[in-house]
């Protein structure tokens, strides 16, 4: 628990643009957790950072051309105060730099991630 008894929830997202059906769920679950007054972050690793590339959110959605696009779910999560985190090696794995990603994404290292996981009330990974 953080200082004011706020629950801390950490989501880990490992899937990327090549699996659109999996792209939205972490964002909307995180948004719901933030709406429940939790302190919520999503950590993007492995293929995860590809979802945060500029332009990708307009292009893909969990139901393809039907339904909302990824941008909608990302915006909803950010509006609720969800923090988006990436790690440097997984950016490199996907030949990306932080500048290739949408605004508001923060880079953290492996030790910082583990520290967050140890301190969190719950870690949920996809």
């Amino acid at each position: 628990m953080s200082d004011n008894d706020q629950a801390v929830v950490l989501y880990v997202m490992t899937h990327g643009v090549d699996e659109p059906k999996r792209c939205a769920t972490p964002f909307y679950l995180a948004a719901a957790a933030a709406a429940m007054d939790a302190d919520v972050s999503i950590y993007f690793t492995m293929n995860g950072p590809t979802l945060l590339q500029r332009g990708v959110g307009r292009r893909i959605g969990p139901k393809g051309e039907r339904g909302e696009k990824l941008d909608h779910f990302i915006g909803q999560a950010l509006d609720c105060g969800v923090k988006l985190l990436v790690c440097q090696p997984s950016l490199d794995l996907n030949d990306l730099a932080l500048d290739d990603l949408i605004e508001g994404v923060r880079m953290i290292g492996g030790a910082a991630f583990n520290d967050m996981a140890i301190e969190a009330d719950t870690v949920i990974s996809f």
Partner: protein
């Protein structure tokens, strides 16, 4: 005071909105209210029956009632 006597301060209509929007919109609306105010939420998403008790438990706001109405659900939440 019976539930019927609870007069909502404000109504939030999220009929047609799917999870997680009813919860997100409820959280947003409750922030603008004062302690003791009652928010009425009108929804059609069946998930609301489990989501509202969970949301209230985590946020400390009081779930006054959830009732099924002809076109969905009517929820009353009192701000802590």
């Amino acid at each position: 005071m019976t539930e019927d006597a609870v007069a909502p301060t404000q109504t939030l209509d999220v009929k047609g909105k799917a999870c997680p929007l009813p919860v997100i919109k409820t959280a947003g609306a409750i922030k603008a209210l004062r302690s003791g105010d009652v928010l009425e939420v009108l929804a059609t998403d069946p998930g609301i029956e489990s989501d509202m008790p969970a949301w209230a438990r985590q946020t400390g706001n009081e779930l006054v009632s959830i009732e099924r109405i002809a076109d969905g659900f009517r929820v009353l939440v009192r701000k802590a």
